[in-house]
Point group: C2
Chain length 219, copies 2
């Protein structure tokens, strides 16, 4: 598989996980930042290789082989992200670009050993689950911060949006994975929240609140 093919497979997987039922050529083109005509060409190629189901004008979906391939690429991507943060001291907003390159390195042994070096992590620096060697993908049993009722206490376990801008915003406000947060108040008008993070009081917008995954702690 070429780098480009792998990137398309990954994009289709992510679109499929994001709850869309039928994945259109346009959706793939937008995600890949390319033109729909290029997507059509690539879908034909991936279809020939048995990685996607593709019928003209009907949208595209991954075959079991395609899904397995996607999970293997995502596994590599996320393991490398852990490596960059844990071993090389990268910040969590700096890892994506480099991991995009590293995920294409072909060596089963490399990934197995890397996994071992990192002590078999289950989540990447953004809280996303790392697929296992055989493609088992742990499901986040978390919810979005904005949906918690007032008074609840939760642990921050992940970010939905892992763009550098958002991550740096979190850094500036000392919000990190593992933080304990309590909902103090919710503003009816704009759904913004007043929360308590590790003894510190903070006011956050609905935008922010809907991009933080949390796990409720029962008291």
């Amino acid at each position: 598989m070429t780098h480009s093919e792998e990137n398309y497979i990954k994009a289709i997987f992510h679109l499929a996980s994001s709850g869309i039922d039928v994945i259109s050529t346009n959706a793939v083109a937008e995600k890949m930042e390319t033109k729909p005509s290029s997507v059509t060409d690539m879908m034909k190629r991936l279809s020939e290789k048995g990685l996607v189901h593709y019928k003209k004008y009907q949208g595209v979906s991954l075959t079991p082989l395609g899904t397995k391939t996607a999970l293997s690429i995502i596994r590599k991507h996320r393991l490398w992200e852990v490596f960059l943060v844990e071993k090389l001291g990268f910040a969590w907003d700096e890892v994506h670009e480099v991991a995009e390159q590293l995920e294409h390195i072909k060596s089963e042994k490399l990934i197995d050993k890397l996994d071992e070096l990192l002590s078999f992590p289950k989540f990447d620096p953004h809280g996303d689950p790392i697929p296992g060697k055989n493609g088992e993908l742990m499901e986040h049993d978390s919810q979005v911060l904005g949906q918690l009722p007032i008074g609840s206490v939760a642990l921050c376990v992940g970010v939905k949006d892992s763009s550098a801008v958002f991550l740096r915003f979190l850094d500036r406000n000392s919000i990190a994975l593992g933080n304990k947060m309590k909902i103090l108040e919710k503003e009816e008008f704009d759904n913004s929240l007043r929360i308590l993070i590790d003894e510190r009081e903070l006011h956050i917008s609905q935008q922010i609140a809907s991009n933080l995954y949390v796990k409720k702690i029962e008291l």
Copy 2:
């Protein structure tokens, strides 16, 4: 720069270091395992980019920019080799293939941090010097085992041939970098040697002896 361009630059650098004065299209083609016509095409492209000096029928050589580029790629290659051996437990005959892929990853920070993680190594697992950030390349002040006079004692500091076959031969015979070796006898007829390696007596052919770099120890 594309992967392919980088590979050509590296190949030309290695040919130049191996003492050839004029690097022919054929020589590059052989090293790259490709056809001379493909080399001609690539030399034109690299020449346009200012990486090589190229005149039809006259052979090719690296410009200062080309040399700098080559050293940067070799630096990456060798640092990754150290990583694979030191951190991931790869054997020295398994690293080349993977390092060939890793050397093309583009991130200055990645390499700087990797260098740091590895405690700024000066040599790779085969004893080859690792170029510095600014392209300084340490010169091996070593000689080939076969050239030592009888009775001399030396440390094994590198291998000239780092093919997997040769490296596995060394493994099977417990010859490793850092070993102390003493020349006991030299066979006039075939230049084979009887040597003492760390208390163990061994008979090695001239072939082998001329592929081991050693550093004499004065007694």
